[in-house]
Point group: C2
Chain length 560, copies 2
């Protein structure tokens, strides 16, 4: 008896709604109107207010000519305006296009031109570079300034400021619910490692599902107090603006992240969740006694961008933070892989716990599948923790595609899987562990050596504060590992001692043949810029080279 | 600038997967293979085993001729087999059709015939009634017995038992992932209050979303220990079989629910979540000292089916249970409305807290909208807590429709909203409160009186253990309220005293004019059968009448 026609029931308004994170804020504003939504310095909003301001922004954008599908760019720090834009722009049926505020004028100009942004909301702090970028455009967008009194300097560039723009809109605006969940909600530019930045399109369905998955996979209870240490321009803050709306939480916004501010937010405002690259974890660990504050609640930290070295994880744990390690890329809405914890691991020594936790892990709840496989044949590698392959994933929290770049989209999705470009292994328990970006792997004497593995060893050395290992051209071996090291204050270890330390903990062919003590270049999100380090071997002057597109985009690859 | 064609990106295998709760068990079996999934008496399974057995069931069903879209009926208590069927049947692309084990042969025969079930899995405990039901069918399904050694008596009816059926299947079966989320996963029969039972179709998308919403709205952390007090035949256990898979929790199965078993599971097995109608709450409150056990953890309870009287909620709270009140119907996958708690309400006196909690509340996270409105015009009532209207909802956790009943489907969805048939008010804060089923409202002297309101008052009287108020025909007033009361042990209060008590707490026209002390008829899920009580006024013999279809279906309306 095969499927009968009676089962082919039609969708209707009563039983089908497109998935969109806009439903979260609508519900929360209705259920918890008086709960605090956003805190920024002396400013404080409730969910009713944030909803009202977002609706008003939507209305205002429509009135200044934004049409469905238009791009609305934003250059902003983690402020209430940036938060509201994550709702107001989609409420206007438009596509939010956040810009990394560390970019230079050329890269910003490229993004504004490529996205054909109709409107730009821009924070006064960044007016110098925005002015330059706008000057390069034939058809500049309409510009409105976020005129934050907490910013000194800069100038207003637009027709009016954000508050005046809001005044053009109707705070009671009944924005139309989206009609199709497979429709772009945001456009996030990242840089490939070669060529122009790519525009990654997120849709409403994926944003909804990843927001829910953030809460489930992080075990985030209702009413979290979330501290914004991760820039919202970065993969839409890993979808957390929407997760916070779903959980009716508090968003503590910070313009500038430093250790003192983090501890104050935890201790004085009860912050119990934050996200950040290892640089943020380092900041917390290395805070001065003056910056540190006591706190009595559990503070959960989600980290990504590079595998946190065991030593860092261990210190965080000892200081009362519970670290969850995730992995993802701009193309996966931020986190799409999580090192899901097993309670039996609590019994392990803290070093072993940190080792378990340094693995990237398993697929996020809202993602469908993950594999480590041969880049060409897509044949999965054995689950042996040894065989290196490329990491692939598929599912609902994978981008729609690259904006206006069908070729790149096609090659990213070849074979029905998203090709991350990251190299890793799969352990016997199915957890994946990254070994490197394709381009960061060191090939010495025909052997693949993971720079991350060497870094993990060096991070355990008490004198090492920060380390990055890259391939150094070598006549005999092709390449050999070279370690760039930032030392801890007052440390005095030398090159030979560190190499010897590596030889005690690694196969000899994996050990660095040279160590350079110097500051390590990082992006705004704390990612090490290994391409900068590699250049030192080809540009003997070691002068800081001209910004490349790669650097300009502020990423070393699309790693989260 | 309107939407450009570059934004119309196609779905592909890399970035789109249909939503289905089958993804949950697949992921959990991979991530937590050794965690306990199901405990039933001495039987214990891990997630790897439950996944394997479910896959094997799917394979076996295919091998005995089940085709995509076929209905597989199940008549079972809350056992591992019932749990596995919630995964194995959809893995076979078939539609699970659970049957209420309190039904009589005629109703079961109707369901088997109407659903055209291809296969019936049936527990030996229920063989007598199933044998009778099968005898009425011209084309009976293939029958397999759940042959539980914990059951005395009964007989095997089928070709082989469940374990032998499993043996026909391949435990390594790679079941095909569903291709369309808008496709039926289960068929749940409920009774209208008139006419034949209706078959409510759930789809994969709704089952996925309600499962997630259960976890989010109940703030259920990872690895819950869930006690099955709610029958799984009932709206697929409110989708909790799938929620437990998503949260990698433990399912404690019980064939027979009693107070002792509940306390033992909490105290000895660490159960920290269960669901149930007020009858289960009463069981817990009224447990004997011998049945009660101490426990040190928080035990969360989700209740529905009828507004829990403030007195009951208060006692639960005092005994260390945290009660969440939800509301829904078979048509909404179980819970679709939740009395979302406000932390500021913790400051209220416990009586007031109970009063807040007795309201049904606001829309579930996965549901889109809720309203109280005029039944005909769909004009929303004012949010005044006074004006009674019909409760409507819409969104993704509303059924696909009634199986083979386009007319009923159309009228249930008229105007783009699902008509619940329940009457309620909307309070100023947007929370809804049920006042009655349309048919239970008492119209006295032209005034609408809520039977629930009167019951709430009587439940606060220390001598009242259980109460149901119905309309009694009255020559002068049309109808007047009549209260049926079960007294607490050793209580001696009389009719006049209870009426007087009501007059102290209610407008006089709302007070019962008569009180009957007698046992109150309830369904298997603890719902009061008010139609039975009303019959006493028309059938003066007060004999137990013949089963009606209404009673046969075991429901008084479709309330959850």
């Amino acid at each position: 008896m095969s499927e009968s026609s009676q089962l082919a029931m039609e969708k209707c308004a009563a039983n089908y709604t497109p998935l969109t994170p806009l439903s979260f804020i609508k519900r929360t504003a209705e259920v918890y109107p008086d709960n605090t939504s956003v805190i920024y310095g002396e400013r404080r909003y409730t969910w009713a207010e944030t909803y009202r301001r977002s609706s008003q922004l939507a209305s205002a954008l429509c009135r200044v000519g934004v049409e469905p599908g238009d791009r609305v760019a934003i250059m902003a720090a983690n402020t209430p305006e940036m938060y509201e834009a994550h709702f107001g722009v989609p409420m206007a049926q438009a596509i939010l296009t956040p810009i990394n505020y560390r970019l230079d004028a050329a890269a910003i100009g490229f993004i504004l031109k490529h996205s054909e942004a109709r409107v730009l909301l821009t924070d006064r702090e960044f007016s110098t570079v925005i002015r330059q970028a706008l000057a390069t455009l034939e058809h500049p967008p309409r510009v409105f300034d976020i005129d934050d009194p907490m910013v000194d300097g800069g100038e207003r560039l637009g027709e009016c400021d954000y508050e005046a723009l809001l005044q053009k809109g109707d705070p009671e605006y009944q924005w139309p619910m989206i009609e199709e969940e497979w429709k772009a909600i945001t456009l996030n530019y990242t840089s490939g490692t070669t060529g122009d930045p790519k525009g990654v399109l997120y849709h409403h369905r994926g944003a909804y599902l990843n927001s829910m998955s953030n809460a489930l996979d992080w075990d985030m209870s209702m009413h979290p107090v979330y501290l914004w240490t991760l820039p919202m321009f970065h993969c839409n803050g890993w979808c957390f603006p929407w997760t916070l709306a779903a959980r009716a939480g508090v968003n503590i916004c910070l313009r500038k992240v430093d250790a003192g501010a983090i501890y104050r937010a935890i201790s004085e405002q009860g912050a119990d969740h934050f996200c950040g690259a290892p640089i943020v974890l380092n900041m917390v660990i290395n805070a001065s006694d003056q910056e540190k504050r006591d706190f009595n609640h559990l503070c959960k930290v989600m980290t990504a961008a590079a595998p946190p070295p065991p030593a860092v994880l261990k210190q965080m744990q000892e200081q009362g933070f519970q670290v969850t390690h995730v992995y993802g890329l701009t193309e996966t809405y931020g986190p799409a892989v999580v090192c899901a914890w097993h309670s039996e691991w609590d019994q392990l020594a803290i070093e072993q716990q940190a080792e378990m936790k340094s693995r990237q892990g398993v697929v996020y709840s809202a993602q469908e599948a993950l594999m480590v496989a041969d880049s060409e044949t897509l044949q999965p590698v054995p689950w042996d923790g040894e065989t290196i392959g490329e990491v692939f994933c598929r599912g609902n929290i994978t981008m729609m595609g690259y904006y206006r770049n069908p070729q790149a989209t096609e090659s990213a999705f070849a074979g029905g899987w998203f090709h991350t470009g990251d190299l890793g292994v799969r352990h016997a328990d199915g957890y994946i562990q990254l070994k490197d970006r394709s381009k960061d792997i060191i090939i010495t004497g025909g052997e693949n050596v993971s720079s991350i593995e060497i870094e993990g060893v060096l991070y355990n050395h008490p004198s090492v504060r920060h380390v990055a290992v890259v391939a150094r051209p070598d006549e005999k071996w092709g390449e050999t590992p070279c370690a760039f090291v930032e030392l801890a204050p007052d440390a005095t270890v030398d090159e030979a001692a560190l190499i010897e330390y590596c030889r005690e903990h690694l196969a000899h062919f994996k050990c660095p043949t040279s160590v350079v003590f110097d500051e390590i270049p990082k992006t705004s999100t704390g990612k090490v810029q290994k391409f900068q380090l590699r250049k030192r071997f080809t540009e003997p002057s070691q002068a800081i080279p001209q910004r490349t597109e790669e650097e300009a985009a502020g990423y070393d690859g699309e790693h989260e």
